[in-house]
Symmetry: C2
Subunit: 322 residues, 2 copies
């Protein structure tokens, strides 16, 4: 059994991230950092890919869910953990609960992919369907929490989750030293803010950047305005990045991130295909967004040592964009 | 520059394979051995996958081509190396020549995939088109050799190539000790015979097995009859395994291999999809044949530690069987 972690009331410190990394070790894989001569040639940069597609449940989300679950008291844990998600966070919360031997309650929109639903059930979670709207998700979750007493684990607006996601960049920095640039994709900002914290603590000379699809460029706008911004369209292929930032993640990002790169859909697809073809690995479209930024902005990335987080590999093989 | 290797007139010895492994080190990647809890659960076996899909040129063929090229004299090398292939061996010979700074001449049937042709050209080889028949290939190759004086590197009926392919199993054995079963797919038998030799030398307690599609079961028949057999149909999805054994490979296989598992096409596709979905890696259909054998014959594999070679990752993403 992993050690219990302290509750965090503020932005995770260096020591918080180190303690989190130790505590979640049994619940995660230490994923490899891969390089690829062919993609280096194409981009003109020296690229280091942190392969969270090989993470448990197929995505970095396992880190944040484990970090949050290990903060709960025995009494809290016995009542279980809950979330709403149609994606990787659902599986991560379910898997963390399975590991800890406690109940998981996952609210999923009824149009969620059957494969994600099956995987979540496969980890022993109770799946509660709801209408496919933000309001229905929250309302259904509130009912579940009221009924069960389970603790809600937010997918990103949570310092415990951020501390967990931060461990991916910590490992990247340990395995690929002297990075000029460290970059993560930006959706709700949990991974981006965790990456920003670890980079500032463990690799202070690196430039910290984000990458997001142009269609859902709320982070780039929020970065300028200082306010949480929303997206009017969300029809990007990078389905993990459709959400917007929260107060917690925006604050960390504005403090530490130097630049948010926005990329076109066609470049995301090109980047995704190049990673599949040249690196021989299966990645989700969201993963390809930082590499798409490298291809879009050679004036920023050429000649640099660039570390990037490949966030996950849960993709529907019957619906590939190529 | 890698050391030159001696010419082999007989079946490679343990020392020959060790020397080959040292000599080709700069021309190959030491590829990882991956495991997957989910596939272990599905199969009931403990599986170790040697990931030659991450090898240079995307396939184990790099090992054999490097081993063969490093046997040549300076005078021979200056005239170049040649082969006929529509697949991974073409790219491997081209890449070996590029590394050594000598010409490569690759005879390719005119219906070879454009991507393979482009990749071979990308390594600086001269590509010579021919009609898509065995006879036209050989005739065109003979003409090229007569014109250039280049040395033909056979894809499998060659002790130098076999010694190179043997290094994949040697690494697998070093990284995954105490394997009960070591298995490779069987096409022309270069990888299978190399795997058999390394297993008998470096892991003598392991059972050595092959796997091939039922449609092209020449190896299973030759294993029984003692003669090289041919296939009447070759329309398996495992396009790397359509060739039949040669005298050299059959002799080694009959001496060391315990069993050739034959598998149905539907199981190859299922095995391939499971590896993509659960391991998040891109593999060719031929790679999936040993895992398909594990799924087909639980009475042989359940409860065993099984090492398998994933041969390559060069697949047309627009023509997936799922």
């Amino acid at each position: 059994m992993s050690p219990k972690l302290p509750v965090l009331q503020q932005v995770p410190s260096r020591a918080d991230i180190e303690a989190t990394h130790l505590a979640i070790a049994d619940l995660i894989h230490r994923t490899p950092v891969m390089t690829c001569d062919s993609l280096d040639q194409i981009s003109g940069a020296k690229l280091f890919f942190k392969c969270e597609n090989f993470q448990k449940v197929g995505a970095f989300k396992m880190r944040g869910a484990a970090s949050a679950a290990l903060r709960l008291t025995k009494a809290e844990l016995e009542k279980g953990i809950a979330t709403h998600s149609s994606g990787n966070h659902a599986q991560a919360v379910a898997r963390a609960a399975q590991y800890l031997g406690v109940p998981a309650y996952i609210v999923m929109p009824e149009n969620a992919p059957a494969s994600k639903r099956a995987a979540t059930l496969g980890y022993g979670a109770e799946v509660i369907s709801c209408a496919p709207t933000i309001e229905a998700r929250q309302e259904t979750l509130d009912q579940v929490v009221a009924r069960t007493g389970a603790t809600f684990i937010h997918p990103y607006d949570d310092y415990h989750v951020i501390a967990g996601q931060a461990t991916a960049a910590k490992e990247l920095i340990e395995d690929a030293p002297a990075l000029d640039i460290i970059m993560a994709p930006v959706g709700g900002g949990g991974l981006m803010s965790g990456t920003a914290l670890s980079s500032s603590y463990f690799s202070p000379d690196s430039h910290i950047m984000g990458a997001e699809p142009e269609i859902v460029n709320d982070a780039a706008r929020a970065f300028e305005s200082g306010r949480v911004e929303t997206n009017t369209r969300i029809d990007t292929i990078a389905d993990g990045l459709r959400t917007n930032l929260s107060e917690k993640t925006l604050t960390i990002i504005r403090e530490h991130v130097e630049r948010i790169n926005t990329v076109e859909e066609a470049m995301i697809i090109r980047a995704m295909r190049l990673i599949w073809e040249r690196m021989k690995i299966v990645i989700e479209p969201s993963c390809a967004v930082p590499f798409a930024a490298v291809l879009t902005y050679p004036e920023v990335f050429a000649g640099q040592r660039v570390g990037m987080i490949l966030t996950g590999g849960n993709v529907d093989l019957e619906k590939l964009p190529f």
